[in-house]
């Protein structure tokens, strides 16, 4: 006997919203926003989006979607291929394993968990990129990007929350 239908089928086109929104945020990461800081330390909006949707609607952000988003990001950002894919796949694995500990807690806890997770993954991406470059790259830019990403989690999650309540 077939199991319950996946959430995508129950929600119809609205079920694609997390992936579509994340793709839109990936394009936003590419936009030249006109300030030196924005160019060099763009928040990782896709990681924020993936973490948010996985925390609230994990079935709508499957491993396949994380892979495609990561691949597209690597190609668009000019990063070594595979790095963003690995980061987003690990984001899904992390959330699915740890969600039971922070589910239904207040927003500050979600923010804290995201910051800790992002720190680990940015460190990993720094190590992987350094290995491709053949030397240890400057860590301060990664640290700056982690700070900016952590800071931006709250406003982006707020907007995504409004969107989730409105559509899903």
């Amino acid at each position: 006997m077939a199991g319950p239908r996946p959430a995508q089928n129950l929600l119809g086109a609205a079920g694609l919203m997390p992936v579509v929104v994340s793709m839109g945020l990936a394009m936003l990461m590419l936009l030249p926003l006109g300030s030196g800081l924005a160019d060099y330390a763009t928040p990782h909006l896709v990681m924020i989006s993936c973490f948010y949707w996985l925390s609230w609607r994990p079935l709508l952000m499957p491993y396949g979607a994380c892979t495609v988003l990561g691949l597209v990001l690597d190609l668009w950002l000019g990063a070594p291929l595979g790095i963003n894919t690995i980061m987003l796949l690990l984001t899904r694995l992390f959330v699915l394993n740890q969600l039971k500990y922070y589910k239904d807690k207040n927003r500050g806890v979600y923010w804290g968990v995201f910051s800790v997770m992002a720190f680990g993954f940015f460190t990993l991406s720094w190590l992987l990129t350094s290995a491709v470059a053949g030397q240890f790259l400057a860590a301060d830019t990664v640290f700056l990007q982690w700070l900016v990403t952590s800071f931006f989690y709250a406003p982006i999650a707020f907007v995504l929350g409004r969107l989730r309540r409105w559509v899903l």
Binding site: L75, G82, A133
Partner: protein, 292 residues
């Protein structure tokens, strides 16, 4: 009831197993792609170029309101200083008129001397003028995406400049877009010359807002405020394009700050500079050709 519970547990176990399989499948794919970058030649630049093409329509569309907003903000910010700025511009205009007359005299004289000495032209024509529609958003690369590609005859390794100086060179060319590696990127090396003394060196990108001057001769004298221009060595960049200014000297670390406005780039020019013929397979020698 009990049967339903057992069935639910079975479904859950199957779903967890499927999820684990999917994770390892996609992770294997990601690791394989990474290994290709690490040990192999990486993904062909052409693939990246075409991937950028896919994002172009949306980026161009999103870029419009941003440009309007930015120019609006600049206008609002500039209103307060408009009187002082006007006065400064009048003074500058007077000075520029004098310089223009001097420059015109020199151009004529230079042209006459070139003709007498039969020196070839050094002017590099622009190939395309393009808008910056995207930036390299990662912490590890300094690149921008421009909306000119192979349809405008843009090729890889062409110099890119803005109104002030050198910006970088083209690396990944798609049909409608090209990625430009900025001179501040870690992988960028620009052969340079000190304008004052003529000493040659290399400007090395550091993934920072500034660059480092390397391989300068020991007996060279360098001072803060010295301008550096492209030397023309290596064949990638034409000579005499302004690159940077010396802004710091700490023992053997010479810091260079780019002259071009890299953090606020909006329009750039791709130069049609191809001094070296494209690489070709070596022709077989006459013996080899005869033997076949």
């Amino acid at each position: 009831m009990r049967t339903t519970g057992v069935r639910d547990r079975g479904t859950l176990t199957k779903r967890v197993a499927r999820g684990r399989d999917a994770f390892w499948l996609y992770m294997g794919l990601a690791i394989a792609l990474y290994a290709l970058e690490l040990f192999g030649s990486g993904v062909p630049r052409q693939v990246r170029g075409y991937a950028n093409d896919l994002a172009t329509p949306v980026l161009s569309l999103l870029n419009e309101p941003i440009q309007i907003l930015q120019s609006g903000l600049e206008r609002v910010a500039g209103v307060g200083d408009i009187y002082l700025e006007n006065q400064e511009l009048r003074d500058e205009n007077d000075k520029l008129r004098q310089w223009r007359e001097a420059a015109q005299r020199l151009i004529v004289e230079n042209e006459r001397l070139r003709q007498i000495l039969k020196v070839p032209e050094r002017e590099v024509p622009p190939l395309a003028t393009a808008a910056v529609i995207g930036v390299g958003g990662g912490a590890f690369e300094r690149s921008v995406l421009i909306n000119a590609g192979s349809t405008e005859n843009v090729d890889s390794n062409l110099p890119v400049v803005d109104e002030l100086g050198l910006v970088g060179r083209t690396i990944e060319v798609g049909l409608m877009t090209t990625r430009v590696l900025l001179i501040t990127d870690l992988n960028s090396r620009v052969p340079i010359r000190l304008e004052r003394s003529g000493d040659v060196a290399i400007a090395e990108g550091l993934n920072e807002a500034f660059m480092r001057m390397r391989f300068l001769a020991v007996d060279s004298s360098v001072q803060i405020g010295d301008r550096v221009v492209t030397s023309g060595h290596g064949g990638l960049f034409p000579p005499d394009i302004p690159v940077a200014e010396v802004t710091g000297i700490i023992e053997d670390f010479i810091e260079l700050t780019p002259i071009s406005s890299l953090s606020t780039l909006d329009f750039v020019r791709v130069m049609d500079y191809r001094p070296l013929p494209p690489e070709q397979d070596p022709e077989p020698s006459s013996e080899e050709a005869g033997g076949q």
